[in-house]
Symmetry: C2
Amino acid sequence: MPTPHVVVIGCGFGGLEAVRVLSRAEVEVTLIDRTNHHLFQPLLYQVATAGLPAPAISAPIRHILRREMRRGRLTVLQAEARGFDVAARQVLLDDGSRLGYDHLIVAAGATNQWFGHADWPAHAPGLKTLADALRIRERLIGAFERAERAADEGERADWLSFVVVGGGPTGVELAGTLVEIARHTLPEEFRRIDSRRARVVLVEGADRVLGAFDERSSASAQAQLQRLGVELMLSCRVEAIDDRGLNLHTADGPRRLAARTVLWAAGVAAVPLGRALAQGCGVQADRAGRVPVRGDLSLAGHPEISVVGDLAAAQSDGRPVPGVSPAAKQMGRCAAANVLARLRGRPTQDFRYVDYGSLATLGRMAAVVQLQLPLLGRVHLSGYPAWLFWLFAHVYFLIGFRNRLMVLTDWGWNYWTFARYARVVALADTPPQEPHGP
Amino acid sequence: MPTPHVVVIGCGFGGLEAVRVLSRAEVEVTLIDRTNHHLFQPLLYQVATAGLPAPAISAPIRHILRREMRRGRLTVLQAEARGFDVAARQVLLDDGSRLGYDHLIVAAGATNQWFGHADWPAHAPGLKTLADALRIRERLIGAFERAERAADEGERADWLSFVVVGGGPTGVELAGTLVEIARHTLPEEFRRIDSRRARVVLVEGADRVLGAFDERSSASAQAQLQRLGVELMLSCRVEAIDDRGLNLHTADGPRRLAARTVLWAAGVAAVPLGRALAQGCGVQADRAGRVPVRGDLSLAGHPEISVVGDLAAAQSDGRPVPGVSPAAKQMGRCAAANVLARLRGRPTQDFRYVDYGSLATLGRMAAVVQLQLPLLGRVHLSGYPAWLFWLFAHVYFLIGFRNRLMVLTDWGWNYWTFARYARVVALADTPPQEPHGP
């Protein structure tokens, strides 16, 4: 009998864990990813706000899996899955070729969504990939530069107004860090503007930020954000976005908010590949495009296909599994173990999400942490202790000793100097031959 | 009398030094640059070859000039000069506005040139800006990925063939580092290809590499490159470049070289702004587009305008000043001192280039150094001592303690582990909403 072949799509938290489990067994594994790196998404906002360079939070997939590759049964391909032929058990790749599998684990993740508003992404970019982060970095730094060059006070104020839409972890991180940049990093470096007068508004549809946390954490987060200098606009719906600002629907009626820089942290959807997979397998994707899975993370009628991470609409103990990295890792391990169980003719195990708690940072020395501890139950931290906890937890889970070292030294430097040395914009869209064209 | 206003265009080595001299005097200074950072160009090839992240070799202009700005007479604007109205003493900016000056120092630098071949830049990108470096990084890393996915041996060999055109310092650095990546960084990380079998060819028109060095250094460089594994093709002229390789004219007649990756390090020209300035002032730019200057670096008929760095066709002791960073720095200081002399009604000084020597690295522990020492005359170093000298000289001249620290730790890491952790490609041109689109 030939060695069974397992294909894993995506090298995020779920896919990477799945490959690690599979590569210890006697199976042939092919991992495909459209990029060449694993991305530590929880720190992506640090790249966007110039606190870290891109290589600090990402690692070449081949490098982090080099030990697994040395065993001789793992192939890594930089390729993009475009669809599936589930009857033939094949993945359709970007170059027109097909990749056959005996078992398939799809861990292709999530992307931004603007709820059908095709013009919003251009005015309010989202933050999911390294390219997104570098684009946002360029906008943030460019806004202060444009303010310095502005012809009049009104234009200046618009360039110094920043709106973050969405009060989840990414939104609060961006808003808090923006205030820090305006008040601590830049003040001495401009002549015509006072960067400290920059306005940072956080717009959220619900009546509190960090809706996935409990109310005590939300209240603490709101108090810390306001102390930092973030303006909170809760229970606000975005009606329209253009290059000069947004129209909001608030409890007091419609309202216009002028701002040259709007960042989008309000919507996440499964990648379109999820719908292609659901369609091929005759199941119905949910509203966010996620693929419903059975208890053991495989698809109904297709036990050879599993979906993990943000792409899966999974349940644990009757409750939906949240789209966070610990859940993706646990699902990746579970799905891989179930593939191996099936190959050995053993029963599969249902997925059970173990929730250790949630944490979010809000800026310099500000964070909220709620832990779920075995005997103590729920423990809350906020302010400086929460921030320290958040910091070391993130460094601990970073992949690669090199990255941990780099992030710690960079953060130490940023902390003491208030500088953000990654404030460098590469101007990728300038024609190479005419840097100073007439 | 109002405070005189000096405008400096460009914050490379020349412009930065000029601003530093000017900001100590009672003059109003405006520095404009199209990017937000000063770039340490001698290490740009390290960003292109994934040895360093972009922020390690660049620093925000506002940050490095924050002490000068604190004195209250320096304005920094991120803006692009598009032309000049020399009669009105105004610089024409990208937003249509005009910037008046009493004295002007133009230090806008150089760019790549492909000698009129409009299709070559797409096939053989050059290395002058951070964006160039990130583009080349993407190509180099992508080539090994494409080789791993290649359908047959011929395609695989083409993806594993790299050609660098131009045997100056940038060309030899790129070629030497490419071999190092193929032989030391990647070997264990692929399954279908043996990256050690990659072919790296250095094509040079003259009969030796490093033509600006003496023959002893050239010979040593060639021996070291060959020992590293670089194939040298000297006395070769490029006739055509396409996406599959190049046509060469050699001493033995025409020859085709198949390679999917071609890098261009063969031509430098002044930025187009130089011709605009020359035209406005009624002088004739030279063949490389550089502006001829008088002994004191000002323009004939326009003592209020000086040109420094790679944009200037300057002479020192009757010999042309080379386009290297020490010369640009010295010219920047000289031009600024002459502006101040004019404002004080004192005579200007002619520029005298002090040549301390030349150095070029060729890869791991390989370099050539020729020093010009006061009493000892010319001293040659090669191999490991030259490489150490090169290393510390470059770290010493890097701007910012932070960058020095970062480069040293990164290099230490790379040296001991052979890893190149910046092997991360951001995929900037992918549509943001469909990372896995069907």
